[in-house]
């Protein structure tokens, strides 16, 4: 907050937009509020980005570029080192933008699934539908971000910033470290789904 005034107005607008888009969704954040948060007139926003859609596009592009930048830095060493603190809000923004139907991030999600499909193809996951497997894992991870407010309410601290954020990250690691269903439970559930499929098929 202290060095906000050091940034160019364009950057301040972009940062404010990312924050408000994340917090209220694309439709929920207004141009006027973003301009006020950035300390500029709403006209300037239009001057720099043309329209709300243009601003959103610029935010998408910025976030994707920044994340790609830190991503590739650690592409060799499996687990990444200290994550720069500025990327967390960007991740949260991208997830929210994705859910709100940004074309750019939809494309990004598709690429991530494609990539994950190839990556996991070599590993030993047991699945009859690798693409759905990868896509659903992605959707689940994003659920953590999308339910930020509710998780924060239930856990008693803001899970969008480090102390609480680390807490849910730890929980997610614990979740993925162990099977949550026994083979018997899983088989039973699968059979229940098969039964539904059959009933679906015989109806029309």
């Amino acid at each position: 907050m202290s060095s906000d005034s050091d940034l160019t107005a364009r950057a301040r607008i972009r940062d404010a937009a990312i924050a408000l888009f994340t917090e209220r969704g694309i439709a929920g954040a207004t141009i006027r509020d973003i301009a006020q948060a950035a300390g500029v007139s709403s006209g300037l926003l239009r001057h720099h980005f043309g329209s709300k859609e243009g601003l959103r596009d610029a935010c998408d592009e910025f976030a994707l570029a920044r994340i790609a930048q830190v991503q590739t830095r650690f592409v060799g060493s499996q687990m990444l080192g200290p994550i720069p603190p500025d990327v967390l809000p960007l991740q949260q923004y991208l997830v929210r933008a994705l859910m709100d139907g940004s074309p750019r991030s939809t494309e990004m999600f598709r690429r991530a699934v494609d990539q994950g499909e190839h990556l996991l193809g070599d590993l030993k996951v047991e699945t009859g539908d690798l693409r759905a497997f990868v896509a659903v894992v992605g959707a689940m991870k994003m659920g953590m971000f999308l339910m930020r407010d509710q998780l924060s309410a239930v856990l008693g601290e803001d899970v969008g910033v480090p102390p609480g954020y680390l807490r849910i990250l730890r929980a997610s690691i614990e979740i993925f470290r162990q099977p949550l269903l026994t083979p018997e439970q899983a088989d039973q559930a699968m059979r229940a789904l098969d039964r539904i499929s059959l009933h679906e098929g015989e109806r029309p």
Copy 2:
């Protein structure tokens, strides 16, 4: 669709509202659109529900009651029998309403976490933070619903209705049946998080 006209106008408004709220979010769906979808004037909507917030409340109440009804029917037999086809849209609505900050469903989420905490307390999950564990699992499941459009785009079929819906359900069972991280990977990730926590602590 055929028997829509058999329902009372009030019920048709409620159903249309649930559909549009789910599809576009609470803020994104307008009273006028809902009224048109229900085939009534927007004034009638106001007459029956008082305000948009009142309509939303009625939708929450209806969905929660209906789901509680089928939930308790199968409380004894672990895995439930055939799920009535009308509850799937209601689940999707509740998740969306929850993310959009409905007070009623926030309370429901809290209760679900409380209950899950007690339920899993007896089971043998390995976690140092049971409440976060339960809450994050819940958030992850909801991610599947929230990312409906993106999952549908990536998988090439609508995952909000049975053929595609069963596909992602199967995937989620596969995901929870097996560990996705080896103990070594999990420990490594945990240590990485610990390191971040320490760095957080020394900064201020």
